[in-house]
């Protein structure tokens, strides 16, 4: 019987994240896995090999692992983007940011022209008026786009929407509407802002259509395209309360297990919402495949810092407002997690504020003293305001952190001036402190909160630059190597997939990020701009050409 062919890919440079062989010049791949990593000469003894020079001028890294994203991250692209920052859509088209109200109106006019049915609502997302220096954007601005077509624009925070008069007339939103969260002008008429979900839902069929379309099966494929263009070969959905539901599993399996889908997907459940039992999670875990992973747990403890809903320790928010909110009762966390802990399930907990981190650490201490485990990989998700002493505790408890490093760029300026002030903003997502404390670190984008893009995430941690251009917390900067480790093997470790992905080494899945420039030799300031040629997933090549 003939030996299966092994393909050897020489490359300009290959960074493996394998400590015993950090750099090589060729990889050999048999089937879905790496057969060898070394030099072409070393590989000449492999039986039945062929050399493929596709990557001869490229730089290869382990495929990036995004350990905190959401399954519907591409769904928003069903609607028109009008955010402040440039953003690339699943087809590779770059949408320039809307820098003022007129640019928002122009963007929406183009979208309006492209809709044939005059009654079809115009749906848009990403609006970020926090960056606009002019007057407040209101419904009458949107009336300049259309007086007849309902328009619904979701803000970047996802907590509010701006709508036009046609929509308000259609859904009967007027001076009499009693709900809070509908600001009104001096004459008592609503200005066209719907704040928080209850008010947004008054947009009725338009509201349902906005979120309904995001669930279309097509958006899963679009997510794969977004990942591919970002060099990402493992995605996560953190978390999905329906993850153990057979329909959900079938819908994801249909896409992810298709060999044309360029990434692996790890779906965490949200048992605080779903009340899923340990047994159901264990059954789901058994249904995992090489590409689709199930049966892990995600819990959200608090809100967000930029939304002033994260739970902070003293001195809290700069403007002395009340503390944030608990999404899950702190005193019930131990009880919720105990059965999952005992069953050995992987558990990640969202803690943006440092007080939420305290609660999670106390909980893990309790669970570990009741039922000791060594290799649990409890992970603090976001972990943004964590202090050095908390990092030492995290290290002592053998826990991991997944930092939201993109915050420095997207909200760093607001954190300095508005939320927590320059001192605590400088220690946000403190990767240096975490690494020095010996804590396993990963970093994420939380797509769609920020765009899917591991190089941007790494760039943010290396440079800590804010959108207005200054360096926030230079002492917390890390090296390019540390940052790239965090978005590959570091993330794989937290998913307990580091035996399969995250580095380039024999036996592991042949997942690669294929770059046009060498991130180790360029100016670290340019890290986020390194062009991505495409990816390899399980030995299959996916060029990122614009489709």
């Amino acid at each position: 019987m003939s030996v299966e062919v092994t393909t050897i890919y020489p490359a300009a440079a290959i960074y493996t994240m394998d400590p015993s062989r950090p750099t090589v010049s060729a990889v050999a791949i048999r089937g879905e896995r790496f057969f060898a990593a070394g030099t072409l000469d070393e590989m000449r003894s492999i039986a039945n090999y062929e050399v493929d020079n596709t990557f001869a001028g490229k730089i290869l890294l382990p495929g990036f692992v995004e350990a905190h994203s959401h399954g519907m991250a591409a769904g928003l692209w069903m609607h028109t983007y009008c955010g402040f920052f440039n953003r690339s859509d699943p087809n590779g088209k770059i949408w320039t940011g809307c820098k003022n109200i007129n640019e928002v109106i122009d963007r929406l006019r183009v979208a309006d022209d492209s809709l044939e049915d005059p009654n079809e609502p115009l749906l848009a997302w990403g609006l970020d008026p926090i960056y606009f220096s002019e007057e407040r954007l209101v419904g009458s601005h949107l009336d300049q786009v259309s007086l007849s077509r309902p328009i619904f624009v979701l803000h970047a925070s996802a907590h509010l929407a701006t709508v036009n008069s046609a929509l308000m007339d259609l859904e009967g939103i007027n001076s009499e509407t009693p709900m809070e969260g509908i600001p009104k002008d001096a004459e008592g008429n609503p200005i066209g802002e719907l704040q928080e979900p209850a008010a947004m839902s008054l947009a009725g069929t338009v509201f349902r259509s906005f979120f309904g379309r995001m669930k279309a099966q097509d958006t899963k494929w679009a997510l794969g395209r977004l990942a591919n263009k970002a060099g990402i070969t493992t995605l996560t959905d953190l978390g999905n309360p329906l993850s153990t539901n057979q329909t959900t599993i079938d819908e994801w399996r249909d896409v992810v297990d298709n060999e044309a889908f360029p990434a692996r997907m790890f779906i965490f459940d949200s048992p605080a919402m779903s009340q899923t039992s340990t047994e159901n999670l264990l059954i789901a875990k058994e249904k995992s495949s090489d590409k689709l992973r199930l049966g892990a747990v995600k819990v959200v403890l608090d809100g967000s810092i930029q939304g002033y809903t994260a739970r902070l320790r003293w001195p809290g928010y700069l403007d002395d407002r009340s503390n944030g909110m608990w999404v899950f009762p702190p005193e019930q966390l131990t009880e919720l997690l105990r059965p999952f802990h005992e069953a050995g399930l992987l558990i990640h907990v969202h803690c943006n504020g440092d007080e939420a981190v305290d609660v999670f650490l106390e909980t893990v201490e309790t669970l570990l003293s009741e039922f000791p485990k060594t290799d649990h990989r409890y992970t603090v998700q976001h972990c943004q305001l964590t202090s050095p002493e908390q990092y030492r505790r995290i290290s002592a408890l053998n826990m991991c952190v997944n930092l939201f490093s993109n915050h420095t760029w997207y909200w760093g300026d607001q954190h300095v001036t508005s939320t927590v002030g320059p001192d605590r903003a400088a220690r946000m997502n403190s990767a240096r402190t975490a690494l020095d404390a010996g804590v396993p670190v990963s970093m994420h984008c939380d797509a769609p909160v920020t765009p899917l893009g591991s190089l941007h995430v790494a760039w943010a941690a290396v440079n800590r630059r804010t959108a207005s251009g200054f360096v926030l917390g230079a002492e917390e900067q890390i090296t390019v190597d540390e940052a790239l480790h965090a978005v590959t093997l570091g993330a794989a470790y937290q998913l307990k997939m580091d035996g399969e992905i995250g580095s380039i080494a024999p036996r592991k899945f042949a997942d690669l990020a294929i770059l046009e420039e060498d991130p180790y030799t360029i100016d670290p300031n340019d890290l986020r701009d390194v062009p991505i040629w495409g990816t390899m997933s399980g030995g299959k090549i996916f060029p990122a050409e614009n489709t």
Binding site: M179, E180, G181, E196, S201, S274, S322, P329, E331
Partner: protein
């Protein structure tokens, strides 16, 4: 055709305050009608198996016509589903999670097809003062209390009367809500006395007074009246003709201290208010109070 608008009552309160027992009692109280209970967690509502007619994922149907809905699909979707069967439902009760904000959830009561019919916050009288100092959840507990129209004190049996009194005084410093000791009847909780329907109720349960207002009422009298509420009055419901308002028929709701007036969608012709008050509230004081509305300026 006038659609059936569903009353929407929010029940909040911190863990252990007794929300679940209250909801279980409501589910089996035949005087309330058919409830749709919206909960975060089916597991917490320990519904007697013999009452369950069917269980299809997000909804449990009971043999007495009540249903219990989970929030897994979110509020907007759940309220749409309940709305679709509004001819089979008389009232919606939403249980807020132990750390949830009742005032935020209450906004869903303004969804078309519903009207907000009170924010009830349960408070464990035996622990609330101590817990209000908890570094993690103290602030949450206090803001829940501040959001209430009615505060319902539970676990009063664990305290002496003077201790309960201290708790009540403390609560008054946080909230303008009406403070009641549980258990109270469902009539009092929801103000179930229907306009124009005389019922034979026990005065131990609650006191109710009905008064007609054949002549239009001034907004100014309403303002005076609103501020002079006798301490025992829990609920007021009914219809008035208000001089300064454009609609013919104004629906009036008072839950604890909070008054709301809306343009009525019903074709109710009788202008009448029904007051529900705590047992032993003198009827004379309620009638005197209602007559403030008849004062011309």
């Amino acid at each position: 055709m006038i659609e059936n608008v569903l009353p929407f009552t929010v029940i909040g309160g911190y863990l252990g305050a007794g929300k679940t027992s209250l909801i279980n009692n409501l589910l089996t109280d035949s005087t309330i009608g058919r409830l749709a209970i919206v909960v975060n967690d089916f597991g917490e509502v320990n519904i007697d198996e013999s009452l369950i007619l069917s269980h299809d994922g997000d909804t449990i149907s009971l043999t007495n016509g009540c249903i219990c809905c989970s929030l897994i699909d979110g509020f907007a979707e759940t309220l749409t589903q309940i709305r679709a069967r509004s001819d089979q439902i008389d009232r919606v009760v939403v249980e807020v999670s132990g750390v949830g904000e009742p005032r935020k959830i209450a906004q869903w009561g303004h969804t078309p097809g519903y009207f907000l019919d009170g924010v009830v916050v349960l408070v464990d009288a035996s622990t609330v003062i101590e817990r209000s100092g908890d570094p993690y959840v103290g602030e949450t507990i206090c803001s829940q209390i501040a959001a209430a129209d009615l505060v319902l004190l539970s676990h009063c049996d664990l305290l002496e009367d003077d201790e309960i009194h201290i708790v009540e005084q403390w609560l008054k410093s946080l909230s303008s809500a009406m403070i009641l000791r549980s258990p109270i009847s469902a009539s009092m909780l929801f103000g179930l006395e229907e306009v124009g329907v005389e019922r034979n109720i026990s005065p131990i349960d609650h006191v109710s007074v009905t008064l007609e207002f054949p002549k239009p009422v001034d907004l100014a009298s309403i303002e005076v009246w609103e501020k002079s509420r006798p301490s025992g009055v829990v609920r007021v419901k009914g219809f008035l003709s208000v001089n300064e308002r454009s609609e013919e028929n104004t629906e009036v709701q008072m839950c604890g201290p909070n008054l709301t007036m809306t343009a009525s969608q019903s074709d109710q012709l009788r202008k009448v208010l029904v007051v529900v008050a705590t047992p032993r509230t003198p009827k004379a004081s309620i009638i005197k109070w209602l007559n403030l509305l008849n004062l011309a300026n």
